[in-house]
């Protein structure tokens, strides 16, 4: 099998815009799932609301497309009620960090055996480009026309602090690394959180001088900095570029987890 066998061919092409990273992230996630040799009949994909959350509808498995922000709460019910099911959650920055922030930290705290893939495009794409909790300071959106004035969430750091067993961050440029990270997440008992920096040419790029999808990808390539390098620079007291995207594995541990199949 390949990741394409995990997609509902009759639902493609999907609704995402040209150049949207969500499709890439869906590919990488399902490629990792494919490597796990999971039975599609025993796999459940859960998502909330937003561009990212449409992903569930394209996966050839049982899928639950829920209400805004609540995907993790629904997934908690599925996984605790039937731990033998494999559960993957697709979510976005608005879905996970704004309206679903409470469920996010509590799912990490419970350390439920879920793999959560967050397509973080720094914006509310579905509703037309409003600022989200991860919109960087100064970035333009329809609700931050003079530049975002609020500090942004560091989702990976948040998941580490809240207790997730596996946390990684990559971008949609790092397809192989992302695939490996998702696989590591699927293999780790407990909550695995993979934040993926995603490009939204239509709503984020257009307002922030990243007009083409290729420009966005180039930015991901040049600005990404491995976590080990970042840590070394910080330890040595050397300057870190303010726009660096720290990528890599943030934590991998085996704290007590819930909902792990016996």
């Amino acid at each position: 099998m390949s990741f394409e066998d995990w997609l509902r061919a009759d639902r493609l092409p999907h609704i995402w815009c040209s150049g949207c990273s969500n499709g890439t992230i869906l590919n990488c996630t399902m490629a990792a799932v494919d490597m796990m040799d999971w039975d599609p009949d025993r796999t459940v994909v859960v998502s909330g609301i937003g561009c990212s959350s449409r992903a569930a509808g394209y996966v050839e498995a049982d899928s639950l497309h829920t209400t805004h922000g609540r995907a993790l709460a629904f997934a908690t019910g599925v996984k605790l009620a039937e731990p033998s099911l494999n559960v993957v959650v697709f979510t976005g920055d608005g879905d996970l960090a704004a309206i679903g922030g409470n469920h996010f930290i509590h799912a990490c705290r419970r350390n439920i055996d879920l793999t959560v893939v967050c397509m973080n495009n720094l914006i509310y794409g579905m509703t037309g480009g409003q600022g989200s909790p991860t919109t960087p300071l100064g970035a333009l959106s329809t609700t931050t026309p003079y530049g975002a004035a609020e500090p942004a969430f560091d989702l990976a750091a948040l998941a580490v602090a809240a207790g997730a067993n596996y946390v990684a961050r990559w971008t949609s440029y790092h397809v192989r690394e992302l695939e490996k990270a998702v696989k590591a997440g699927l293999e780790t008992p407990g909550l695995s959180f993979i934040e993926v920096r995603a490009g939204c040419p239509t709503n984020y790029g257009r307002k922030n001088r990243i007009r083409e999808a290729t420009d966005q990808l180039e930015q991901f390539r040049t600005r990404s900095m491995l976590k080990v390098k970042y840590d070394r620079l910080v330890a040595e007291g050397k300057p870190v570029p303010h726009d660096a995207i720290v990528v890599g594995e943030f934590v991998r541990r085996s704290n007590p987890a819930m909902g792990v199949a016996p």
Binding site: A61, D62, T67, A73, T76, V78, E82, N102, H106
Partner: protein, 361 residues
């Protein structure tokens, strides 16, 4: 046994094997009982981070084929509204026990009320179809919880046990039957579409993990379950079916108790106030006071009003400002006299007697 505990026992007897809840007065004893009993029954109890998460987890659990429920009161019930609409849209069987307290807002946490009767019917946005039961004793807390599960499973919709603080915290001796009648949801036949109307407009249930590879979404969906949000006909057909499958079962599932059907003056009541009415009837055995006690409030059994062929007026005592009284008015040309009582105290038989005397003259 306490009413709330009896409800938990009824749920377990009905086959409930998942409880997701959040502490809230005056319903907390349901969760506490479940926390102690559920692991021994082979089920799952989880205390979620809020009521939104509770109902979400209950819906998720229900899709794995488990019977699932939560218990709450006014403020938590308000938080659940969006996901209850999701449960209606996705036809998820579940039970919510609402031990009503004084509202609006935080109101009177430890006092009784019936102020959520319209909220449970109309609270979630869009047109919805739901079932609501109203117990008036500890025995009924048990029996109607079982019934709520059976109706939820049969009609694939949320079923509410709309109790009030009086009944939830009341202690009475009850009979716990060895076995109860249990209805299980009909499973989806292979080869049929997951959201196509089955018998009674209810589709078979495509349990997760059974190979149906079903897509469940709160978006307007076609019979395959795929989103079809811009097709007016698909939306109209779906929502009409969701409402009609419940409303169409109105006569069949109606559950009420008629006393003195020849009476001229008839009390229409449910929940705790019906106990005061019963006392009034017992105090005045020669008057032949008519009583229609609703055990199932939604869908409203309007045909039950016609059982009182000599009726000249209906009196509706409620612990709210006349929520079900207005529903009674919708279905009769006779005078309807609401007897609202707020504040958490029950109507006294003497108060009801005064209203009765006034109406009879």
């Amino acid at each position: 046994m306490q009413g709330n505990v009896a409800s938990a026992e009824g749920a377990l007897a009905a086959g409930c094997r998942f409880f997701g809840g959040y502490p809230i007065t005056p319903s907390t004893e349901v969760a506490e009982r479940m926390a102690s009993r559920m692991p021994k029954a082979g089920g799952v109890f989880v205390q979620m981070e809020d009521e939104i998460a509770s109902i979400a987890a209950v819906i998720g659990a229900s899709w794995t084929g488990k019977k699932a429920m939560t218990a709450t009161s006014g403020p938590g019930f308000s938080l659940m509204m969006e996901n209850l609409g999701f449960a209606v849209m996705t036809e998820t069987p579940l039970v919510v026990v609402n031990i009503q307290r004084g509202g609006p807002s935080t109101g009177q946490p430890t006092m009784s009320a019936q102020g959520d009767m319209l909220q449970c019917r109309y609270g979630s946005h869009g047109d919805i179809g739901i079932v609501a039961l109203a117990p008036n004793s500890v025995q009924e807390m048990h029996d109607l919880t079982v019934k709520a599960f059976n109706l939820a499973e049969r009609l694939r919709c949320p079923a509410f046990l709309m109790a009030d603080e009086h009944i939830g915290h009341m202690r009475e001796r009850i009979d716990l039957p060895d076995t109860v009648e249990v209805v299980d949801r009909t499973q989806l036949e292979p080869g049929t579409l997951p959201f196509a109307a089955g018998p009674g407009l209810v589709p078979g249930f495509p349990t997760f993990g059974k190979g149906h590879r079903v897509h469940v979404t709160g978006l307007t969906h076609d019979e395959r379950g795929y989103p079809a949000t811009t097709d007016p006909e698909v939306h109209a057909a779906l929502v009409e079916r969701l409402v009609r499958k419940v409303e169409g079962a109105r006569r069949e599932i109606a559950d009420y108790v008629v006393t003195n059907p020849d009476a001229e003056v008839v009390f229409v009541c449910y929940g705790a106030p019906s106990r005061a009415v019963a006392q009034l009837v017992a105090d005045k055995p020669d008057e032949g006071i008519g009583v229609l006690r609703l055990r199932l409030v939604w869908p409203f059994p309007e045909h039950a009003l016609a059982e009182f062929s000599n009726a000249t007026a209906f009196i509706v005592p409620e612990q709210n400002l006349g929520q079900i009284a207005s529903e009674v008015e919708r279905h009769t040309d006779l005078p309807v006299v609401p007897v609202p009582k707020l504040g958490g105290e029950l109507h006294t038989p003497a108060e009801l007697a005064r209203v009765y005397e006034g109406v009879r003259r």
